[in-house]
């Protein structure tokens, strides 16, 4: 072995030792970038979210000729045009109109706002609650663990879709006085969906916490005088985060599908408020005269759900610590 070679190795070793460690997020990002479909999905989703936020604002300031009113009106969710019902796509209505002559494109965009908002809120609520309960369950063990896990098993075993439908059929007429009707409906749906969705996060977090509970840093935190709650929230929950993020991303796709199914069946968000699901609600009646109405809302659901699935798949690879670059 020559002297020069040793020098090179030593230099490299030193460079490795002295260099600041790469930030974890950067590593994750690099890994995610290698998953091309996931990156494309991420870009697509960001664009979709920007689109549903910005595009309606622009459209609201533009006008179209409303035939039945005989004047130029701004695009709006509920403005009807009974003289142009189920109209085929034109330049004024790029995606046509629905059975009341409302502009499908504008409704599709605001529906996207609500559908995505519900999906994100439900997932946030259910993952946070699930993660907290899971961490509590794993941290305290004994009867707390036993109780929470029995509840989890109970929720998992219930027939989900029939129960969701029953719950929403019971609660769909419930109005929260303080909120405008569409928000009140959204809150009801969010609560119902979160009720059934937290178990996955709970199990993941519990498993993670069980392996962390007896490690030194937990004892150190205790020695430093942190309360149980502080240890759970500050030290246990963040450690369980990577797998939860993956399950949350896949959960977004699931919530979009379930919410649209509920709304499609008439048990979710009610007309005239638009979501992707309830835009398809009465589409079958006009199937033979206006088939394009059936196309776009479903396509939106499909694309959003597919993108969240690919993103979740990519994130799973990126966040999996067993996977080395």
């Amino acid at each position: 072995m020559s002297v020069a070679e040793i020098d090179v190795d030593a230099l490299q070793a030193e460079a490795l030792l002295t260099d600041k460690p790469e930030r974890l997020l950067v590593t994750y990002w690099k890994r995610l970038r290698r998953h091309r479909l996931a990156t494309a999905s991420l870009i697509l989703l960001v664009m979709l979210i920007l689109l549903v936020i910005v595009a309606p604002i622009i459209m609201e300031h533009r006008t179209y000729y409303n035939v039945s009113k005989g004047e130029y009106l701004n695009y709006a969710r509920d403005t009807q045009d009974l003289a142009a019902r189920n109209a085929a796509p034109t330049s004024a209505h790029p995606l046509g109109t629905d059975e009341l002559g409302r502009d499908v494109l504008y409704r599709l965009l605001v529906a996207g706002r609500l559908s995505l908002f519900i999906a994100f809120t439900v997932v946030f609520v259910q993952e946070t609650v699930g993660m907290f309960l899971g961490a509590v369950s794993g941290y305290f063990g004994k009867w707390v663990d036993n109780l929470i896990q029995r509840i989890v098993e109970f929720v998992i075993i219930l027939p989900t879709l029939p129960l969701l439908l029953t719950l929403s059929s019971i609660l769909r007429d419930l109005r929260i006085e303080a909120l405008p009707p569409e928000w009140s409906q959204a809150v009801v749906i969010i609560v119902i969906l979160s009720l059934f969705g937290w178990t996955g996060a709970c199990r993941l977090a519990r498993g993670m916490v069980l392996s962390l509970r007896n490690q030194e840093f937990t004892e150190a935190s205790k020695a430093l005088g942190l309360s149980d709650l502080q240890i759970i929230v500050r030290h246990m929950m963040p450690n369980a985060l990577p797998p939860i993020i993956v399950s949350a991303t896949l959960g977004l796709s699931n919530v979009i599908l379930v919410e649209s199914a509920l709304s499609f069946l008439g048990f979710g968000i009610q007309q005239p408020v638009a979501t992707w699901g309830n835009m398809l609600q009465d589409v079958q009646k006009d199937m033979f005269t206006a088939p394009w109405k059936a196309l776009y809302p479903g396509l939106a659901i499909f694309i959003a759900s597919l993108a969240f699935n690919y993103l979740g798949d990519g994130l799973r690879d990126a966040l999996d610590p067993r996977l080395k670059l």
């Binding site: 075993i157 027939p159 029939p162 719950l167 079958q284 396509l299 659901i301 597919l306 699935n309």
Partner: protein, 395 residues
């Protein structure tokens, strides 16, 4: 094992009872209910008087406090006066307007015969409700008024079983080989196709897929002059010229007619099941192929075919038990969305219709039966695991 079974059986009963109590509580706690729409009639003449409404409430059993409603639903009402008399609690006065005793909580028919089924000859509907536990599921309120819940469900369940079992069988037959081949030839073109397909299937909203199929096979086929498929119902009532039944000369109500009607719903459901199941099969097979015993089988010089079929495939099939077993409740309760889209008179449609019409006896019956089936399916699945895979033990 016996201990385990006893404990599980106990848990199952509790799960089912708690679930039904929760649903019952919700149905009763929320204002509105099946009678809320009655007085929407505009003219004063056709409105119901408070007495009428009270009578209707008594008939449907809505006057009862929640816990009593649940108990009579579960156990029947012929014991209400006896037990009530022993407790001696007269309950809320406004609901017990007649005699001021527990007897008021019995339905009028039951009250007329003195609160007992002793004189009932066992024919038709008993004057006193006997409760679910004695196989009295009550009568439909609105969907098929006056018919018993069992007869309503009986008229639908056959259609759903036919639909769901054909979907299950076809999907399994196709999904197992596809998933296995896709795992054995990982990263091949076929594997990519299968993976992409399953992603599409998971993300696809069933009802939209159904609509697209109706547009293609019903609408467009008709436009193009091809024999188009029926898009709803189970049998043809009137053969229209140019339809599949007309072209193939299928008689209404024949087996071929049924198959023609099953084609679209079965295709939709099968493709979606395939997507999930082939992916499941693939990952299960990939897991097994990595195991030591597969390497051992190769090392001792077995042919690749023997390794795959005899050593890998048999073990990869074990997790499939979960899927097959969890189909059992599905075969009863049906596919809510697909049946709605294709207007297929099965259990899923029945459930949606009875929810829409506030037909609580039917809703409760379907929920109760599916809860029981799910719970049993879970247990059966766990037991099957121990039989198939001796490494798994329950204590």
């Amino acid at each position: 094992m016996t201990n385990y079974l006893i404990r599980r059986g106990f848990q199952m009963v509790i799960v089912v009872i708690v679930a039904t109590i929760a649903i019952f509580a919700l149905l009763n706690a929320v204002p509105g209910g099946p009678l809320s729409g009655l007085n929407l009639a505009a003219d004063a003449k056709s409105r119901f008087s408070p007495e009428d409404i009270a009578r209707l409430e008594a008939m449907l059993g809505l006057n009862k406090p929640f816990y009593l409603a649940y108990l009579t639903w579960l156990l029947g009402e012929d014991w209400v006066d006896e037990v009530g008399a022993t407790i001696g609690n007269p309950g809320p006065a406004d609901k017990m307007w007649d005699t001021g005793t527990w007897v008021d909580f019995q339905s009028p028919t039951c009250k007329n015969v003195g609160g007992t089924n002793a004189e009932w000859d066992g024919d038709g509907i008993s004057p006193c409700r006997r409760g679910v536990i004695r196989w009295d599921w009550g009568q439909s309120w609105s969907l098929a008024r006056g018919q018993t819940v069992t007869s309503v469900i009986g008229s639908r369940v056959q259609n759903t079983v036919i639909l769901m079992s054909s979907v299950t069988v076809i999907s399994l037959i196709v999904a197992i080989p596809i998933g296995m081949i896709s795992a054995v030839k990982q990263y091949s073109k076929l594997d990519y196709a299968v993976t992409t397909f399953s992603f599409f299937g998971i993300a696809m909203p069933v009802f939209w897929f159904g609509l697209l199929m109706i547009i293609l096979f019903g609408l467009k086929f008709k436009e193009w002059g091809l024999p188009y498929f029926p898009t709803g119902d189970v049998f043809t009532t009137r053969v229209t010229p140019g339809s599949l039944q007309d072209v193939l000369n299928i008689q209404p109500r024949s087996l071929a007619d049924r198959i023609a009607h099953l084609f679209l719903p079965v295709t939709v459901l099968t493709l979606l099941y395939l997507a999930g199941w082939s992916r499941f099969m693939r990952s299960s097979m990939l897991e097994v192929l990595r195991q030591d015993y597969v390497r051992t089988a190769r090392a001792k010089g077995l042919r690749e075919r023997a390794v795959i079929v005899k050593h890998a495939a048999r073990n990869a099939l074990i997790p499939l038990i979960t899927i097959v077993v969890f189909q059992i409740p599905g075969i009863f309760s049906g596919a809510i969305l697909t049946e709605t889209i294709f207007n297929y008179p099965g259990m899923g449609r029945l459930f949606i219709d009875s929810l829409n019409r506030d037909d609580w006896p039917i809703v409760m019956a379907i929920l109760f039966i599916s809860a029981i089936l799910v719970v049993i399916a879970t247990l059966v699945g766990d037991i099957l695991y121990t039989i198939v895979d001796p490494r798994i033990r329950f204590d």
